[in-house]
Amino acid sequence: MKLVRVSIALATAAFAGLAGAAEPIKIGFSMALTGALAGAGKGALIAMEIWRDDVNKKGGLLGRQVEFVYYDDATQPAKVPPIYTKLLNVDKVDLVVSSYGTNEIVPAMPIVMRSKMVFPSLFGLAANEEFKYDRYFQIMPAGPEPKLDWSRGFFELAAQQKPKPQTVAIVAADAEFALNAAAGARENAKKMGFKIVYDKTYPPATTDFTPIVRAIQATGPDIVYVGSYPPDSVGMVKAANEVGLKAKMFGGGMVGLQFAAIQKNLGPLLNNVVNYDFWVPEPTLNFPGVKEFLAKYQEAAKGKGVDPLGHYLPPFAYAYMQILGDAVQATKSLDQAKIADYFRKNTHDTVVGKVQFGKNGEWATSRVLMVQFRDVQPDNLEQFAGPGKRVVVYPKAWKSGDPVFPYKQ
C-alpha cells in the first residue's frame, strides 16, 4: 500500500514537473506594426521571432519554451502605457523588451520602472537621460554620448584630410533625431576647429530640396553635414547631384541610406557619400552568427514589405533578445535584479559583435560607423548584400578601406 502511495506521489511530482516545464516563458512588448515606423517595426519583429524560434529549437530558456505576447502600438505614444500595463498586470509576462524608437520607448519607462523590470530597448536616442533607470539597456551602438558620438567620426575624418577642410554647413530636419544629430555636429565642428558657414533646419514635410542645396552651395562650404529622415535623405542626395554640390565631404547623419530599397533607388547618386551606419557586410564586421541570421531574415522577409536585406535594425533586434536570453540562462532565473546585474557586468557576444553597457544603459563605447558608398551600380539591389559597396572608413578598429576624398570636384 505504501509503495502505491509513494509511486502515486512520485508520478504526481513528475507530472507537476512536466507541467511546469510546459509552462512557457512569456516575453512582452509593444511594436510599431502600423503607422509611421511600421516598416522598421515589422522588420524588428521578424528578427525577434527568428531569435525565439532559434532558442526554442535549442530547448528554450531554463528548459521552458519562449512565447511572445505583443501588441501593435501603431507608432502612437499614447497607446504604449495601456499596452505595458496590460502586459505586466493582465498577461503577467515574465520579461519585457521595448518597442522601436525613442517616442515609443519613453512612455513605457515609468510603468516598467514601477515594476522594476529589466528593460532592454531598441534604438532609443538618450531615452534614459531623464529617468536614469539602472535596469535600462539600449542596443543601438550610439555610445555613452549619443549626440556627440553620432557625428564625431564624420568630423574626425574630415580633420584628417589634407589640406584640412575649413568650413562646414550643417542642415537638419526639424524633428527629434535630426535636431539632436545637428546639435552634436555643431559641437564637434567647433571642437575640431571648423568654421560653420551655414546652419539651418527645414520643416519635416519639405519635398523640394534644391533650394536648400543651392543655399548651401552659395556659402561654399568644404564639408556638408546632413541630419535627415528617409524621405528627405533621398531628396537631399538627389538635389546635391542635380545642383552639382561641390563639397569635399557630404552626408553624416542621414537616416534611410541604410535601407536597401533607398540604396537601390538612389544607385550611383550615392557614390562617395559618407554616412553613419551600425552594421554593414564588410569583412571587418563579420561577427559570429550574423550571416546565418541574415540568411534566415532575408528568407522570412520575402513578400512582407520590409527591408529585404535587413542590415540596419534587424541584427540589433535579434541581439537585444540574444542578451536577454543569455542573461536568463546564465543567472538561471527570472529574477530581475540578477538579470540586470548580468547585463551590467558582462561583455555580451551577439550577432552584432561584443556589447558592453555603460552609463545610462547605453553602449560603453560608441560604435557609430562612417561608411562611404563606392562604385554603386544603377538599379541593383543584390550589390548591397555583399562587401565593397559600403566601405567602413571610421573608426580605425572596424575600418575596411580608406575614404575617397573629395566627394565631388
Partner: protein
C-alpha cells in the same frame, strides 16, 4: 425628480469610479479607461461646435496639443500642481478658441474646416520651433511621486479624467438645453435666418468655440503625465482629430448624449481591438463605422434610439 436625475447619475459615476480605484488594483484598466475618457472629452467638446452649431472643426488635435504643451511650459518653469495645469490649459485653449472664432467668423462650411486644419499646422510649427518646451525634439516629463490617497498615479489620473469628463458632459448638457443651445441649433439650421430672427450669431459662435477650446485644452493638460514624453508629432496626431469627429458622428451629433455614447462605444472597441486583434483594425473600424452611420443613420445611435421610441409611442 427629473431635475435631480443627472446630478444623481454623475454622483453615482464618481462613487463608482472611486470604488473602482479601491477594488481594482490592475493599472491596465485605469490606463485603458484614461484613453477612453480622454477621447470622450474630446468628442463632447467637438460636438459643441460641430454638432450643436454645425461648424466642422478639423483642428481638435491642435487644441489638445496646446493643452498638453501649456502643462509642459508650466512644468518647465515650476512644480505646478495638476489642477492648476488643467485650469491654465483650459484658459489658454479657451482663448485660442475665442481667437479662432473671431478670425474665422466669415468662414462657413468647408472653408471653416480648412481654416481649423491650417490653424493646427500653424500651431504645430510654432511648437516645433519653441525650444523651451522641447521643440521638435520633444520632452520627457516625469510623473510626480505623490498621488494623494490613490495607490498609483495612473489611478489618480483616471479619477481626474473621470471628473473632467463628467464636467464636460454637464457643460454640454446645460448648453444644449439652454436658451444658448437653442440659439446654436438655429445657427446650425440656417445662420442667416437665425440672425434675422434676432439670434446673436457671432456671440453664440464665439461662446461655442471658446467652450470647445477650453474643454479640449483641459483634456490635453494631464497628457504629459500619462505618456511621460511628448513631441509635436504625437501631440498633434491626426488620429486624435479623426476620433473626435468620428465619435460624435457615430453616437449622434444633435443630442448631448451622442458623443458620450459614441466615445464609450468606439473608444472601448478600439482598446479591446488593440490588445486582441491589431491596431491596424482600429482605423478601419472607425472608417467603416463612420461611413455606415453617415449613409444609413446620419442621426447616429442616439437618433436611432429616439426614432425607435417615437415609433413605439
Amino acid at each position: 425628480m427629473r431635475g435631480w436625475g443627472f446630478p444623481a447619475a454623475c454622483a453615482a459615476v464618481v462613487v463608482a469610479g472611486l470604488a473602482f480605484t479601491e477594488l481594482a488594483d490592475n493599472p491596465y484598466y485605469f490606463n485603458a479607461a484614461y484613453v477612453i475618457l480622454q477621447a470622450l472629452i474630446m468628442a463632447v467638446a467637438w460636438n459643441i461646435l460641430g454638432g450643436f452649431t454645425g461648424y466642422v472643426n478639423f483642428g481638435s488635435a491642435a487644441f489638445f496639443a496646446v493643452g498638453a504643451y501649456t502643462s509642459i511650459a508650466l512644468l518647465k518653469a515650476a512644480a505646478v500642481p495638476l489642477p492648476l495645469l488643467i485650469l491654465a490649459a483650459a484658459l489658454v485653449c479657451g482663448l485660442i478658441g475665442l481667437g479662432v472664432g473671431y478670425l474665422t467668423l466669415r468662414l462657413k462650411g468647408v472653408y471653416f474646416a480648412i481654416a481649423t486644419l491650417a490653424m493646427g499646422i500653424v500651431l504645430e510649427t510654432l511648437i516645433n520651433n519653441w525650444s523651451y518646451v522641447g521643440g521638435a525634439k520633444g520632452t520627457a516629463i516625469l510623473t510626480p511621486d505623490k498621488h494623494l490617497w490613490f495607490d498609483s498615479y495612473s489611478e489618480m489620473l483616471f479619477m481626474v479624467m473621470l471628473l473632467l469628463a463628467l464636467g464636460s458632459v454637464a457643460v454640454s448638457r446645460t448648453l444644449s438645453s439652454s436658451r444658448l443651445g437653442r440659439g446654436l441649433a438655429a445657427i446650425r439650421d440656417d445662420e442667416v435666418a437665425a440672425e434675422c430672427s434676432g439670434v446673436p450669431t457671432l456671440r453664440l459662435k464665439l461662446v461655442s468655440t471658446t467652450v470647445m477650446g477650453a474643454m479640449m485644452g483641459a483634456a490635453g493638460a494631464p497628457y504629459p503625465y500619462f505618456v511621460s514624453y511628448v513631441d509635436p508629432l504625437s501631440a498633434f496626431n491626426l488620429f486624435i482629430a479623426v476620433n473626435s469627429i468620428a465619435m460624435p458622428m457615430i453616437g449622434g451629433t444633435a443630442h448631448w448624449a451622442g458623443p458620450v455614447v459614441g466615445a464609450l462605444l468606439v473608444g472601448s472597441a478600439q482598446e479591446v481591438i488593440t490588445v486582441t486583434i491589431s491596431s491596424e483594425l482600429n482605423v478601419l473600424l472607425v472608417g467603416i463605422m463612420l461611413v455606415l452611420f453617415i449613409t444609413l443613420a446620419p442621426q447616429g445611435i442616439v437618433g436611432l434610439v429616439r426614432k425607435h421610441w417615437k415609433k413605439r409611442a
